[in-house]
């Protein structure tokens, strides 16, 4: 009977309930989407391996490191493997078509990143073709790249027209893997540079180092940097996660703003729903007084109001959560490769549910208290 009362009360003012549910749905949806954007911002760092270090020029990432460092780093105790990567920064047809491109030491790089899943045949084809490239599945889907396609990029950091042949399309080992990159041979870049601008040849952007024991990353980082102290290109070695977070920190203000907006949206709907519940309770004062006269205690009355608020919150929350998936998909597709990883996480879903629950509970707090405190005689008078 209590449940019947709650459910029938929920749909007593259909329009009011509908508008409240719609508001809550939009708020939970917006919260989920904004949280996913924030997570996408940190996706690179989240997907980073604890066993990988990135070695870069200590002055700035803009300045390269000599190729000769490779052997010296490889010989440091605790270093299991090493590879190289250069940010290429090319334009595909138009500047708006942004996606990350890296010139890498292909074989060692693919070994260091087992999360890039590539068939044996594609890997072999890539390694054998100096102008070959592999692209992530999301990138391939965005621009319609297929194996065998020739892709021309206009260099910005490395001027000129650069032609690549797609030899493989890699997929991600898990949802956090960035599948929006293009990898090609550092040798191709280096040899072309030798011909076009020799002073820029034989340098790498960063070294990626795999350590034998993740517990020793701090010690190994110090050892690498010590090796090149007082050289003309001192190094700064940090974990891959710290390296990625360094990029995120450049845009931290945006992330903070997005987070604030997401919580603000929830706060606004909380205020709207609290007002709805307060109106509801005011209108039903005589009913609560009647229930109290019949012998029902404050707990029963508070239960009715909490039940109603939670039912509305559950409805709006569930709809918001359900709609997050298709909306996130459309958003990710509209954003292209801006967010390499754009996945609605379980944490986001839990947070959405928690927000809906909190809205339900908090919005009912004061109305329920005031209903439970209704003086029967005064409450009964409000019927007239």
């Amino acid at each position: 009977m209590r449940l019947i009362l709650i459910l029938r009360n929920v749909f007593r003012h259909k329009l009011r309930t509908l508008l409240t549910v719609v508001g809550l749905t939009v708020a939970v949806l917006a919260f989920g989407l904004l949280s996913t954007v924030v997570e996408a911002w940190y996706a690179g760092a989240e997907g980073a391996s604890s066993a990988r270090l990135v070695v870069r020029n200590s002055i700035s990432l803009v300045f390269p490191l000599p190729l000769t460092y490779r052997q010296k780093i490889r010989q440091i105790d605790g270093v299991r493997a090493i590879s190289t990567a250069n940010w290429f920064g090319g334009i595909y047809k138009e500047p708006k078509n942004f996606f990350p491109q890296f010139a890498v030491d292909a074989a060692s790089y693919l070994d260091l990143y087992p999360e890039y899943v590539l068939s044996e045949a594609e890997r072999k084809a890539f390694l054998l073709d100096r102008k070959g490239a592999v692209v992530g599945s999301k990138l391939a889907a965005t621009y319609g790249f297929r194996i065998g396609d020739t892709v021309t990029l206009k260099g910005t950091i490395f001027p000129g027209q650069w032609e690549f042949v797609i030899r493989g399309i890699y997929s991600g080992r898990d949802a956090k893997t960035d599948v929006s990159q293009m990898l090609f041979h550092w040798d191709y870049l280096n040899e072309t540079l030798k011909a076009r601008s020799p002073r820029r040849a034989n340098t790498v952007g960063v070294y990626v180092v795999e350590v034998s024991d993740p517990a020793r990353v701090a010690e190994i980082s110090r050892a690498i940097d010590a090796e090149f102290r007082n050289s003309y290109a001192e190094t700064l070695t940090e974990t891959e996660k710290a390296f990625q977070l360094g990029f995120v920190s450049m845009t931290e203000a945006i992330v903070v703003a997005i987070r604030l907006v997401s919580y603000l949206v929830i706060f606004i709907i909380l205020a709207v729903m609290a007002n709805t519940m307060a109106m509801t309770v005011r209108e039903r004062t005589a009913e609560y007084a009647t229930l109290k006269a019949l012998g029902f205690g404050p707990a029963f009355i508070m239960g009715l109001i909490y039940g109603e608020a939670l039912a509305i919150a559950a409805l709006g929350g569930a709809l918001g959560i359900a709609l997050t998936f298709p909306l996130a998909e459309r958003f990710a597709s509209a954003m292209g490769s801006l967010f390499p990883v754009f996945v609605v996480s379980a944490q986001t879903l839990w947070l959405q549910a928690a927000c809906a629950l909190a809205v339900g509970l908090v919005s009912a707090l004061f109305p329920a208290r005031s209903a439970a405190r209704v003086r029967i005689v005064e409450g009964l008078r409000s019927v007239a």
């Binding site: 009977m1 209590r2 019947i4 009362l5 029938r8 009360n9 007593r12 005589a286 009913e287 009647t290 109290k292 006269a293 019949l294 012998g295 029902f296 205690g297 029967i376 005689v377 009964l380 019927v383 007239a384």
Partner: protein
Amino acid sequence: MSAPAASPVVPPAGPLVALRDIVKTYRRGQQVVPVLSGISFDIAAGEFLALMGPSGSGKSTLLNLIAGIDRPDSGRLVVAGEDVGRLGEAELADWRARHIGFIFQFYNLMPVLSALENVELPLLLKDMGRRERRERAELALSMVGLADRMTHAPSELSGGQQQRVAIARALITDPTLIVADEPTGDLDRESADDVLRLMQRLNDEIGKTIVMVTHDSRAAGHAHAIMHLEKGVLSGREELRG
């Protein structure tokens, strides 16, 4: 004060309701407004008593005190052997659920519940299974002549029918005392007569003690006695039948 002769139920010894020196005031800002000034009287079990008086005479306040939904400033009020003034809020709520059946002027039914569910509602406070609750509610509705309106919402019933549902709700827990505040105040004459006849039957046939506030002398004519109030004091008792 004696029990009505028409009642087939033998009343217990002593009054069912005993009021002694009941004083009640209301505060209006800084001003203290006296409502009841030293009221003392008894109501016997099985009695049908009407409280009459002009507006502001304190009759509804007196009824509220007897029903345990308001408290006197001083004085002693014993209902069904319980000193009501000594009960805490939770105990008082429990006491009302066991001893008092309410009939309000505007019926005060839950608009989202059917007639049957409205009647069943007070039984939620009893240790009773769903089927038993249903059966009792159906029986109560049949007693008030609404067996064919059980699934109707209050908004689908006439005023008279709604008041009969309210009477069935008041009866369902077999209370010691039924209090009715202007039960016919919102009804046309025909419906009012139906409701009053029904209340009289409850008193005559099953011995329910009823205290009814009314300003309608026709309605009061159905009672055994009329207690007149004026400016918060009893101005007389008029015996009608029994």
